[in-house]
């Protein structure tokens, strides 16, 4: 890491005394931070600690109630994102802010399209620039592809490319790797080191603590909207950081106990979905976690969708408890005791505008808390409140709208939605994406508890540690096929990687 590890560069950006509250609840209180030239300043904190809010204020997306920003000593008056961009501050947003119906190139260069003398956009030049930029990131996407049709990881790369295209002095990255596989993340790190060498100051928000030691020059921690402290990663251990974030020790996840001779809860036999995956067979036992590893785009999510009746298989069959079943819609899956937490909580998870309570209870209403069509509101609220405290969902009130919750807390709400149904089989697609270490440990414990109570869990995850910590067996997928199923003791990172990439 060389000189970059020395955190005393000249000061680039100063955030001082910033406060912000939403509906009377403080999200930030008197936060002061410094970002130096040519450094990576990591920002940590639990879900809802205020990291994104602070970054959005720096990027001019959101106006603070109090406090000021100084860029190279001069006070910044930021009224709009356009002004921040003009001042040299660009941001990669956590909740991707992209234009789904437009092309990759248009998304990246919006507002800076190359024009000819007549003021018309030069589409060829636009594509050329896009290709050049994506090459730098080591991504080979079609510049003309419609963004909305791309998988989440590709969209994340586009968001990164766009922020880079501004060639800004300050770059804010809010959980840029949460949707990326390791290879893409490595590429991104290389780009970050390159930018740092060129004097760019980078704010880096993440929940993957391991990344910090490879990348960060300084680490600041936010807790409940307050700045807890700033230090250098060399002086800290992983344990220290977690302690600073959550203010207590974490219990490590219980090691998965091997299941013996439990009945098969769910099995697939030669299951195929044309164009996505083919000939997938596996058995999932009650009380077992079957981890599904694989590269981004290996067809894992589509497999889960097929098991849940969102997509219909073109061949093969699904058996539950040994009997072949036809699952052609989510209600059919639910009635057979299957639950499904999808990977894209914005598109297929949250019901925005509705309260946390309504988001929690919605699936359960198909079965519980209803008599003659009327909802037993008291019972539903008690159950939801119980679930919320069991999952430690941080919300001022269950009647608060779900979109006001931090990403990690939204994730817990969606998990809670399915837990209320007590499913025998739970499909989890990236269950801890964007979830902080504390909450992640809690979710892991929860999964372990469910499993020991007999629930069968199919867990897709791109995070190797997560797969390794929880899975009894690991199914590795490669380009839509099962590359192998490994028992726990054989599942080493190297073997998994080997099967996934082949």
């Amino acid at each position: 890491m060389g000189a970059a590890a020395d955190p005393v560069g000249p000061e680039l950006l100063e955030v001082s005394g910033v406060s912000k509250s939403f509906s009377g609840v403080a999200a930030l209180e008197d936060v002061t931070l410094r970002l130096r030239h040519g450094t990576v300043h990591a920002l940590l904190g639990e879900n809802g600690a205020g990291k994104s809010t602070l970054m959005r204020i720096v990027a001019g997306v959101c106006t603070p109630d109090a406090g000021e920003l100084r860029l190279e000593g001069r006070a910044l008056r930021l009224g709009s994102p356009g002004q921040a961009l003009a001042a040299g501050i660009a941001m990669i947003h956590q909740e991707l802010n992209l234009l789904p119906a437009m092309s990759v190139a248009e998304n990246i260069w919006i507002r800076r399209e190359p024009l000819n003398a007549l003021g018309l956009v030069r589409h060829r030049e636009l594509r050329r620039r896009t290709r050049a930029l994506l090459e730098r990131l080591g991504v080979d996407l079609d510049p003309q592809a419609e963004l909305g049709t791309l998988p989440l990881a590709a969209r994340q790369m586009v968001e990164i490319a766009r922020a880079l295209s501004y060639d800004s002095r300050v770059l804010i990255m809010d959980e840029p790797t949460s949707a990326l596989g390791e290879r893409d993340a490595e590429r991104l790190f290389a780009v970050i080191r390159d930018l740092r060498a060129r004097g760019v100051g980078i704010f880096y928000v993440t929940h993957r603590i391991d990344e910090l030691f490879a990348l960060a020059d300084e680490i600041s921690v936010l807790r409940d909207g307050r700045h807890v402290g700033t230090s250098c990663p060399r002086d800290l251990t992983r344990r220290d950081i977690i302690h600073m974030m959550v203010g207590r020790e974490l219990s490590s996840p219980p090691a998965a106990t091997p299941v013996q001779a439990a009945p098969v809860a769910l099995s697939a036999h030669g299951l195929s979905l044309e164009g996505w995956f083919c000939d997938v067979s596996f058995e999932l036992h009650a009380g077992e976690v079957l981890g599904v590893a694989g590269l981004v785009g290996s067809g894992r999510s589509k497999l889960a969708e097929t098991l849940f009746g969102i997509a219909r298989p073109t061949a093969g069959e699904i058996r539950i408890g040994g009997a072949a079943v036809r699952i052609d819609s989510p209600p059919a899956a639910i009635s057979r005791g299957i639950g499904f937490v999808t990977e894209d909580r914005r598109e297929t998870g949250c019901l925005p505008g509705l309260s946390v309570l309504e988001n929690l209870e919605i699936s359960a209403l198909a079965r519980d808390f209803v008599r003659l069509g009327f909802v037993h509101a008291g019972a539903a609220r008690r159950a939801c409140a119980g679930m919320a405290s069991a999952l430690r969902i941080k919300a001022p009130d269950l009647r608060e709208r779900i979109e006001t919750l931090s990403g990690g807390n939204q994730q817990k709400v969606l998990l809670g939605r399915w837990l209320l149904l007590n499913p025998q089989i739970l499909l989890l697609d990236e269950p801890t994406r964007g979830v902080d270490v504390g909450a992640k440990a809690e979710i892991h414990q929860l999964i372990a508890r469910l499993v020991s109570a007999g629930t069968a869990v199919l867990m897709i995850s791109s995070e190797m540690p997560e797969i390794l910590a929880l899975s009894h067996r690991v199914m590795v997928m490669h380009e839509g096929r099962v590359a192998g199923i490994l028992d726990r003791d054989l599942a080493t990172p190297a073997r998994i990687m080997d099967l996934a990439a082949r």
């Binding site: 509906s23 009377g24 819609s329 297929t348 019901l351 919605i362 919320a388 009647r399 504390g438």
Partner: protein, 342 residues
């Protein structure tokens, strides 16, 4: 400290209480302000009270009760993120059909000379059935083919209008029986409107039907994944909206004691306006029956107020447009202030 909802006390009592004010409080204030403004202007310009006139108050609601009944259905459609342009035409069609079965034996050239003086339930049931059928067509088109509600209901709008004209070749249907006419006389339409609104207020807030309706409007894809049968539910919602248009058709023909194909062709816009003034969002997921009732009343107060002040019809519309906009702006402003103030 890591704390969760259950452990954590509400941040502070005051803002929480403020936040719990129902969202339609703002538009209700606008309604009251409008009524008071007319009261004041009344004393200044026509030396009469606007509100202290029971007859006027009844007319005020009466004249919008048909729009109100439509709006009750349209609100539910809007909550799912859809729109129903067909209501006006469906009202006309059901009015024709219901009236044709409600003719008295005195009618000179009855549509069905053999079917006169029928008991009142028959034309009412026929009207409701035709309305529900039109709604069923809307819903099925949207659910089965995935075309935008705008197009599906636009198509049904044109077809229903054509059918309404074709039914008696444009001839009005008159000389209806007295029991049928009674449905539309006095304050009966007002009672029906308020009862309908109450029923669906309860349905939206306290039943699974209502919860699913909101969920679909909030995020259709997520609702589907959460296990809601979206298509089937949409069919139900549009059918209910159709049924209520049918009810509105019965009310109109009973009020006019005649069925006319040209009637109520533009009512869909008024009904949608009532819902949107009342806070429903055309992007779905948001809206309440109480808001819609208030939105409907605002339309009624404005209309009555203008006549009361003897404002020339030329100016009425110019001003009416401005008032609708101002009402929604005032409501928005209040809501935004509340958000930033707390």
């Amino acid at each position: 400290m890591h704390h969760s909802v259950a452990e954590r006390p509400a941040p502070s009592a005051a803002p929480a209480r403020l936040r719990r004010l129902p969202p339609e409080a703002g538009i209700a204030l606008v309604l009251i302000a409008l009524a008071l403004a007319f009261e004041l202007l009344g004393w200044i310009f026509v030396h009469q009270s606007f509100l202290a006139n029971a007859q006027r108050l009844v007319v005020m609601i009466l004249q919008v009760s048909v729009i109100g009944v439509i709006a009750v259905g349209v609100t539910q459609v809007i909550i799912t993120g859809g729109i129903d342009l067909s209501s006006g035409s469906v009202v006309a069609l059901t009015a024709m059909v219901a009236a044709s079965l409600a003719q008295s034996s005195e009618a000179v050239s009855a549509v069905y000379p053999a079917l006169t003086d029928l008991p009142v339930v028959i034309p009412v049931a026929a009207g409701l059935a035709v309305g529900a059928a039109a709604g069923l067509v809307n819903g099925s088109l949207i659910a089965a083919t995935g075309i935008p509600p705008f197009i599906a209901t636009l198509g049904v709008m044109a077809s229903a209008r054509g059918l309404a004209r074709w039914y008696t070749r444009g001839q009005p249907v008159s000389m209806l029986t007295d029991p049928y006419a009674a449905i539309g006389s006095g304050a009966v339409p007002v009672a029906i409107f308020l009862a309908t609104a109450l029923v669906f207020h309860v349905a939206l807030r306290y039943t699974r039907y209502g919860k699913f309706t909101y969920a679909i409007g909030a995020n259709r894809e997520a609702a589907r994944v959460a296990g809601i049968r979206v298509g089937r539910h949409l069919i139900v919602v549009y059918s209910i909206a159709g049924l209520l248009s049918g009810l509105a058709g019965v009310l109109t023909s009973a009020r006019a004691v005649s069925g006319q194909a040209g009637m109520r062709l533009m009512y869909e816009l008024d009904a949608i306006a009532a819902a949107v003034i009342g806070g429903a969002s055309l992007s779905g997921g948001v809206g309440r029956m109480t808001g819609t009732v208030i939105g409907t009343l605002i339309l009624g107060v404005v209309t009555s107020g203008f006549t009361f002040l003897r404002i020339d019809a030329y100016y009425q519309e110019i001003v009416k447009g401005a008032i609708i906009v101002a009402a929604v702006v005032a409501d928005q402003y209040r809501r935004r202030r509340r958000l930033t103030a707390t």
